[in-house]
């Protein structure tokens, strides 16, 4: 299929537009249509794999059309080893969400389905855009549907959470917009052609001080999105108040837009600045790992516990990215997918029991394994995947990150490794207090076990958890060349930075000795 990338962006939009004309009362047709639309999108997205060639670092299956030629903005899409699995994760999780909330959404189901389809399209667009401005447009477009999902279908304190989510993200992204415009301006002055194409912008060799400012703007936007400690405060609110489907997409895909942004934009565009400030991010990542785990440990609310575990897990991902080596970055990308699968599953499972008992307090449960055996089994699998049990996906990602980080920042790797132990403690604690022991509350005896649609939603997730855990090379092989290229860019940038430093030092020496230095060749495009 040609234009497969455009298809998976615009098919959900098309279905959403069709749904807008459905009568409000036709609930089942709306849900069916939405589910089949998202399933078709998933099926089409699988054909990317057949067109995707291993061993190529750059963008594949590219599409490029002029969009706003006056400003050099193109509708340019492409997929590479970094974005491939994230796109598939998005197309997988959307039908999972629609299926799992088949019976759970009673209020305005039409708008609910439409929101998720639009959100899916925007998120796929974020991962596929190879034009900086197109990326920005999709990045912003994800906000409105998620705002509505939290604000309309969320819990008691949903309004506060929704507005906080929106304002945090928009603050970062608007500053990033300014940086994007500035990058375009610099590129225009270098080549005389207005241009926002990513692969051209990669060739901008910016002087350090410019890089630092622009890197700051980009990094802030992504740090809020990930979120990196101490900008994480919106996350627990948003997660706890969002409906189950919203939490799954938020944790599963949206947070990855931040970490993806670091790999795609921050590292290759501003290699010197990224190298210079990598230490800061590593420290913050390690703090996030430990802090998230400790806070998760003391949560009495299951959903909040899983939400804080996200802060911890995403800390690992950021750590791997800023350790700048092949294993750690590949581990980070894989861990993004892993986190989407396992945390998505955990949120789904918490939602299942919340729907039945309308409480998420650990204290309200106990011995559920006896009344809901099937549910307990699935929960334990998802939990073990999140903990990082060998044989399941989480282990591979965390191991690669820690092994890679250990080569460059051994201390950080050692401290972060304790986060794995904490994860085992708080998740096992969760499982123990909810599922095992005697049934403490009478009302818990009669909870119906997990339903068909929820099982159908969970099975593919579990399948992938095992697949990644047992044979990660299926997934890693495809990302290797692209990751290699990112690392090359960072290192060559870093070396150039070193050269500039030595050159400056030499000049200072010459100046001190009274010799007039010859005009040195320009080391970067100045303003």
């Amino acid at each position: 299929m040609s234009h497969v990338l455009s298809w998976i962006i615009w098919l959900p939009v098309g279905v959403a537009v069709l749904l807008a004309f459905f009568p409000r009362t036709a609930v089942t047709p709306i849900k069916t249509m939405g589910l089949f639309g998202s399933l078709a999108t998933f099926a089409i997205s699988l054909t990317i794999l057949s067109g995707f060639q291993d061993g190529i670092a750059g963008f594949q299956l590219v599409e490029s059309h002029a969009w706003i030629p006056e400003w050099g903005i193109r509708y340019a899409l492409g997929v590479d080893g970094i974005s491939l699995w994230l796109v598939l994760l998005t197309t997988l999780l959307t039908p999972v969400v629609l299926l799992s909330s088949w019976n759970g959404i009673h209020k305005h189901p039409k708008e609910y389905v439409i929101s998720f389809l639009i959100m899916e399209a925007a998120m796929i667009g974020v991962f596929l855009a190879t034009d900086l401005l197109l990326f920005y447009v999709f990045f912003e477009l994800t906000l409105l549907p998620m705002y509505l999902v939290i604000g309309v279908w969320g819990g008691a304190n949903r309004i506060y959470a929704a507005i906080k989510f929106f304002l945090f993200t928009v603050t970062g992204s608007l500053l990033m917009l300014l940086a994007i415009i500035d990058l375009g301006f610099l590129q225009y002055h270098r080549t005389g052609i207005p241009d926002f194409a990513l692969r051209h912008l990669y060739q901008l060799a910016l002087p350090m001080h410019t890089q630092a400012i622009l890197f700051g703007a980009f990094a802030l936007a992504f740090a809020i999105k990930v979120p990196i400690f101490p900008l994480h405060t919106w996350l627990p609110d948003a997660h706890v108040e969002a409906p189950t489907g919203g939490s799954i997409i938020l944790a599963g895909v949206m947070l990855k837009m931040g970490t993806y942004g670091y790999i795609r934009f921050c590292l290759p565009l501003f290699p010197d600045a990224a190298t210079k400030y990598s230490r800061l991010f590593i420290v913050l990542a390690v703090i996030g790992v430990i802090y998230g785990a400790l806070v998760a440990w003391v949560q009495p609310d299951m959903k909040k516990l899983v939400a804080y575990s996200s802060v911890s897990h995403l800390g690992f991902v950021v750590l791997g990215i800023f350790a700048f080596n092949q294993a750690s970055i590949e581990g980070s990308i894989l861990q993004m997918v892993n986190h989407g699968l396992s945390t998505g599953a955990l949120f789904l499972l918490v939602g299942v029991i919340y729907e039945r008992r309308h409480t998420r307090q650990l204290a309200d449960y106990g011995g559920i394994a006896q009344t809901m055996p099937l549910y307990a089994t699935l929960f334990v699998i998802a939990m073990l995947s999140s903990v990082g049990l060998p044989g399941l996906n989480g282990f591979v990602g965390e191991f690669l990150i820690l092994a890679g980080t250990f080569q460059t920042h051994p201390a950080a790797a050692v401290i972060a490794a304790s986060g794995v132990i904490f994860a085992a403690i708080y998740l096992l604690w969760l499982v123990q207090s909810v599922f095992f022991g005697p049934v403490t509350k009478e009302e818990n005896r009669l909870i119906p076990d997990i339903a068909w649609n929820e099982i159908a939603a969970l099975v593919p997730l579990v399948l992938f958890m095992v697949w990644i855990g047992v044979h990660p090379n299926t997934f890693l092989n495809k990302m290797t060349p692209s990751v290699q290229e990112v690392i090359n860019k960072v290192q060559s940038g870093g070396e150039r930075g070193q050269m500039m430093l030595t050159e400056n030092a030499a000049r200072r020496l010459l100046a001190a000795s009274g010799v007039k230095p010859a005009a040195s060749p320009a080391t970067g495009a100045g303003r």
């Binding site: 706003i68 030629p69 400003w71 477009l141 929704a162 301006f185």
Partner: protein, 485 residues
């Protein structure tokens, strides 16, 4: 044809053909509704037809300068004319059902709208400060009546009086500034003034005082801080369709006049304090407008303060004296017409006592009570806050791009930071639309074909410019180039 006066050359009909159509059309409508009161319902459609004919006649006129070099027809005036027509037609569409509901419909309303449009067209086309002032006065007199059109309602009368008093002061300032400019340059013609400016001393106090006077007067019309005091009261009191139109069209007309003054002053601007003064006005407007809008619960007052902020954004483009800036302002005003009149239009469809404030509570749950209005207001709010894929994003992007390209980075950063603030109060409207249950006694939205059509046009335009801005850019860019060379 016999010669009437040396200034009236052959082809004068061509020069003012759309203006003539509108002026005569307005007279016709007054007579129509006076003699055929039973057919009152037909006045709005007739008014629309007149506007459409006038807009089509734009295609027949030939560009050039007329009346002794005081009146210009060119690509840029055509773009601004289109903006004025668009604003007036949207206002007409919203007014139809509003005026009927309030039982104040008659031909004068549409006639005044037409004559005001003629005034704005004169401001946009005038190459001489006196023509601009003539147009401004015609515009202002029509606005005094339009604002007070709801004559049985106290706040409407109050608004009219406030605008009248303020407007009289502003006119005084403008005339005084013009007189001083005349004293300094011996001309009121922009081209002749430009010649004198080319060799003038930038520290000449006479020029500075004249500039301050003129900009203060025009600043009143633009509702730019610190000359914005009247705007919230007037917008709140005026009939909602008028408020929407008033918040857009006169500002566009004033901006193009200001652009002409700036183009004439270009040789001076680099040296003088004038650009700094405009930057200060822009920054102040963005901060005051966005900060105070947060505190507003009345939708019309909120939109008034947001309008102050938007003028601040537009002034940023004025700082970048050049083609880009002019094109950016042209794009911004068209976009602003679509989104702001649309927002006021939804407010106008809330049926309740017009003496009471139209608060956020009145749109609570509207997204599910009346999905189309809810969607339209959401789209307008997102466009106003400048989020993609709406026209508001494209327009704002253009503004900030010109700011960065011309080196006004600090102003751009303040603009972005205040935009973040603005997201909060625009988003709050969406929150009321979809996440709040309607309390007892909430205003019931009316159904209306005309308003629905107007909102459909608004939304279509917002998405069209937001997704395919190229045709507009090409026209605006070419027009700006032609204007400045």
């Amino acid at each position: 044809m016999m010669t009437l006066h040396p200034l009236i050359e052959a082809g004068w009909v061509n020069a003012i053909l759309p203006e003539l159509i509108l002026s005569i059309g307005g007279l016709f409508l007054i007579l129509f509704s006076a003699f055929l009161p039973r057919l009152r319902g037909a006045t709005a459609p007739l008014a629309l037809i007149v506007f459409i004919i006038a807009a089509l006649s734009e295609r027949m006129v030939v560009g050039g300068t007329f009346f002794g070099g005081t009146y210009e027809l060119s690509a840029i005036t055509r773009i601004f004319d289109i903006t004025f027509f668009l604003a007036a037609m949207l206002a007409t569409l919203f007014a139809r059902e509003y005026l009927e509901r309030e039982q104040i419909e008659s031909g004068e309303f549409y006639a005044l709208l037409m004559w005001a449009t003629v005034g704005m067209m004169m401001m946009a086309k005038g190459l001489d400060l006196l023509i601009v002032i003539l147009g401004l006065e015609l515009l202002s007199i029509c606005i005094f009546v339009l604002v007070g059109y709801h004559r049985r309602i106290a706040i409407s009368n109050e608004a009219s009086l406030k605008y009248f008093l303020m407007g009289a002061f502003a006119t005084g300032f403008i005339l005084y500034g013009t007189a001083l400019f005349y004293g300094a340059t011996r001309s009121t013609n922009f081209a002749a003034m430009g010649k004198v400016f080319a060799t003038a001393d930038p520290s000449d106090p006479l020029l500075t005082i004249a500039f301050v006077m003129l900009v203060s007067g025009l600043g009143f019309k633009l509702a730019v801080a610190p000359f914005h005091g009247w705007a919230p009261d007037v917008y709140q009191g005026a009939p909602s369709p008028v408020s929407g139109w008033l918040s857009v069209a006169p500002k566009a007309a004033t901006l193009i006049a200001l652009i002409r003054l700036f183009a004439a002053m270009t040789p001076l601007l680099e040296h003088g304090v004038w650009l700094k003064m405009i930057a200060a006005l822009s920054i102040l407007s963005m901060i005051v407008g966005n900060a105070v809008a947060i505190a507003q619960r009345d939708l019309k007052r909120m939109l008034a303060y947001s309008g102050i902020a938007h003028v601040g954004y537009m002034l940023i483009a004025l700082l970048a004296v050049g083609e880009e800036g002019v094109a950016a302002i042209a794009v911004y005003t068209i976009t602003y017409a679509l989104m702001n009149i649309g927002a006021f239009g939804v407010v106008s469809m809330l049926a309740k006592n017009q003496n009471d404030p139209q608060t956020l509570d009145d749109v609570a749950g509207l997204g599910f009570r009346h999905p189309f209005f809810g969607l339209a207001l959401t789209v307008c709010m997102f466009s106003l806050s400048g989020l993609p894929p709406t026209a508001g994003f494209i327009a704002k992007f253009f503004i900030f791009k010109t700011a960065i390209d011309s080196g006004h980075i600090a102003v751009a950063i303040i603009g972005i930071l205040t935009s973040i603030v603005s997201v909060y109060y625009y988003l709050r409207v969406v929150y009321y639309l979809y996440m709040k249950e309607a309390p007892e006694g909430t205003a019931v939205p009316m159904h209306g074909i005309f308003a629905t059509a107007a909102l459909a046009i608004s939304m279509l335009g917002i998405f069209l410019i937001g997704i395919f801005p190229t045709p507009l850019f090409e026209r605006a860019g070419a027009a700006a180039r032609a204007m400045l060379h």
